[in-house]
Symmetry: C2
Subunit: 464 residues, 2 copies
């Protein structure tokens, strides 16, 4: 199959609304915000895609040999999921390879129906590879050991992950006598970035990539820092101007309430927080997260990815925030709004603000090292509390947390990003960038066609 | 200037015979062979290119953060040479960037006249960057510390060197307000590989590369392992069939002499070796090296790069080997031949076979880690002793020497190499590969045009 045909076919197929993946991301301020897997309860039937779980002995460090001095720790077991080979024919049957995100690969495999749906049409073999330091793919034998500090976390980087995928693919193809199989990469959000970068860096290994909601321009000074929060804010304003205004006003109100005598206790009760708040900031971060995630999953149909949610969840959130019929306070209305996000199924009687007390989730490390995405909240356009991005603050926070230095220019040095259309036009090919404009990550995405084979698919009313 | 114009101009200019660089390489067997800088004495006037010596604080480890746990050792001072900026005009004046080889950058700068000669025609700024772990660019504060073992040598890899160049270039351009300056990469031999790989991996940083004598296909099973020695052998056969035959016969003869009573002492005298030989193998390696290097520098004019040499040095070597007029023994004739290479100026009264007693030169490390180039000597076609390449042997030798494991498939995983014409045609551009067919490294080079802008320049009677 020629790569051009494949691109056109994928392009066509992708017009169906399908969910690719998500992004438990570092949202700008340095908080312990993470994707709350443990709060997650599905309200739909579990998918039942058929695959075999395998493990591959992977180099801890591809780009230097310090790992070799670490004995058994110089390698680790990388998990990957291998789809059915029944209709796949080596040596040339195509391989659809999902570049694992910052999370358990099983969860991404179960929630990425698109690949499973299209693979049979191409008689393609589906492979989901887990990202190092997530799920079961832990160096140093356990999550505790891997996350014990900067020394063991050191190898949690995007370049190492890409090299994992490259190494795994070459070995897999060799073992299956399918060295001539074309490989197409898939990924959404962080994994979308990885898919695009991998196509650029390893074109000899993959002939194309579908990079969904991939904010590869959310680095350095490529896009304005306030883009992300402006998009979320507009998502709300679009549904209800008064909702936008209430939220914008709420931060000061909640902060003032928290400063009152017994204020924290009162807020704890209003927001049904399981453990009494130590400070108002933790609550505000939790609320902020809900709004930001809602921008990513504002689908016009009920969905069940980040959280079980109704159709048009922002509209639903705003319906509650705008509803002052019973003389509700602003705090109560805000609670009613975020409750749509955190507890649509009504299963929770209280909320645990931070289920990762050690602050050791992997994305936080990545956001303290390579993934320096500048975020700001511009009081003129954003409904979020005003916030300026400061490299110095991030550096201090990361130094305190991990004793590590941020490298704010590294991602653009390694992968580019500036003058992307000129550069990609000249040397890139076979990448589809897809974005929904309601998704705040679209602000850092590639939204225009760059060439005949580097294509931007934009869904104006789409989310992640 | 458009990149296409540049390629055409460089193409034109490159037709002048100019010396790009050389390659103190690991020739196949695991010996302590290296480029004998200390034996080097120039017989020509020193060049006087004008440049300023500068240092850049470079990350020790670009792809992980383990360096961050090493305090002051997490960075090192990378040396680079900055040519005159008199006729160079930011923000768009071009930059000609030489990717340093495995050696002192001053020496490469002094011996790469081509760049200095063409730069003025483009009003280009010339930069020579030193490769980490060579010359003065030593991590850990000193050569002793950097070369103390596998733990400190760990970061001596090609990918780290490329990231050094990328980081340096971006910082340099920012500091000189020349962010729009097009960068053209240059390099010969190992540095030619680096230049080509850098254009492929960092196309957002450099618009083109001139990769001279770059054996990027000398890995894995891409070219037959006996290619290198076959080319050297043919270089000799072409000058004299009897010379070829004498050399082919000489290995057994010398080995037998060495096995005789007092044989080693006799060989030591015949070959003017300063310290009495411990075994015949060291002598054979030394002779083998001379022939191999001669293939790289068999210029039709006197030259002074690897060694001060006459025009057509192989012809001259063979003249001595073929000359049995005074009843000379085969050993004496072989000595007279290699003496042309090692001592054309007649300055040496005896030879030191190994001036690096610790076996700690950097290329040896690289040849024990990533740079696994298979070499074999095929008795049917080669004048060298028969020799089969064995990964197991290399692994054992490297494990013994450095306690490190070779990664024989890594270079092709990271940089490609298989199906090079198909792959490069699709995604690469603006690379000139130049090779002389007398140069044994041409066997692993790109010898055919791949596309309009990936061009092979082949000089049938050219050396490195």
């Amino acid at each position: 199959m020629s790569s051009l045909n494949l691109v056109h076919l994928l392009l066509f197929l992708f017009l169906f609304p399908v969910l690719i993946s998500s992004f438990p991301q570092f949202l700008g301020r340095f908080s312990h915000r993470k994707f709350r897997n443990s709060n997650y309860s599905s309200n739909s039937n579990s998918n039942s895609y058929s695959y075999e779980t395998r493990y591959y002995t992977q180099q801890l460090d591809h780009f230097s040999f310090i790992g070799d001095t670490q004995g058994d720790d110089s390698t680790f077991q990388q998990r990957y999921l291998l789809g059915s080979t029944d209709n796949w024919a080596p040596p040339r049957g195509p391989i659809f390879f999902y570049c694992g995100n910052e999370g358990d690969i099983v969860w991404f495999a179960e929630n990425t129906g698109f690949i499973w749906e299209i693979a049979p049409r191409f008689n393609a073999l589906v492979v989901f590879a887990e990202h190092r330091y997530y799920g079961e793919s832990m160096p140093y034998g356990s999550k505790e050991a891997a996350y014990s500090g900067a020394k063991s976390l050191a190898y949690l980087t995007a370049e190492q992950a890409l090299a994992d995928y490259a190494t795994l693919l070459i070995d897999l193809k060799r073992n299956m006598s399918s060295e001539d199989s074309p490989v197409v990469l898939f990924g959404g959000s962080y994994a979308g970035m990885l898919a695009a970068w991998m196509r650029l860096k390893y074109p000899h290994i993959a002939i194309g990539a579908l990079a969904s909601s991939a904010p590869i321009l959310q680095f350095d000074d490529i896009v304005p820092a306030d883009t992300f929060y402006n998009i979320v804010s507009n998502d709300f304003k679009r549904e209800s101007e008064s909702c936008f205004n209430s939220i914008k006003k709420s931060w000061d109100v909640l902060q003032a309430e928290g400063n009152d005598e017994n204020g924290l206790l009162k807020l704890t009760k209003t927001f049904r927080i399981c453990h009494t708040l130590n400070n108002t900031g933790d609550l505000l971060d939790w609320i902020d997260s809900a709004y930001s995630y809602l921008g990513m999953v504002d689908y016009p149909y009920p969905s069940d990815f980040l959280m079980p949610l109704p159709a048009n969840p922002i509209k639903e959130v705003c319906r509650h925030i705008d509803d002052d019929s019973d003389g509700k306070t602003l705090a109560e209305r805000i609670y009613a709004g975020v409750n749509v996000y955190y507890n649509y199924t009504g299963n929770y009687t209280c909320f645990d603000l931070d289920d990762d007390p050690h602050g050791m989730n992997g994305w936080q490390w990545q956001a303290c090292t390579e993934m320096i995405m500048p975020f700001a909240s511009n009081p003129k356009t954003s409904m979020f509390p005003p916030y300026d991005f400061s490299l110095a603050d991030r550096e201090n926070e990361c130094r305190m947390t991990y004793n590590v230095s941020i490298r704010p220019r590294w991602i653009t040095t390694e992968f580019g990003g500036h003058n992307i259309s000129t550069v990609l036009k000249k040397f890139g090919s076979n990448i589809i960038f897809s974005n929904g404009l309601l998704d705040p990550w679209s602000g850092g995405g590639v939204l225009k066609n760059i060439s005949d084979s580097i294509i931007a698919l934009v869904a104006p009313l789409g989310s992640i």
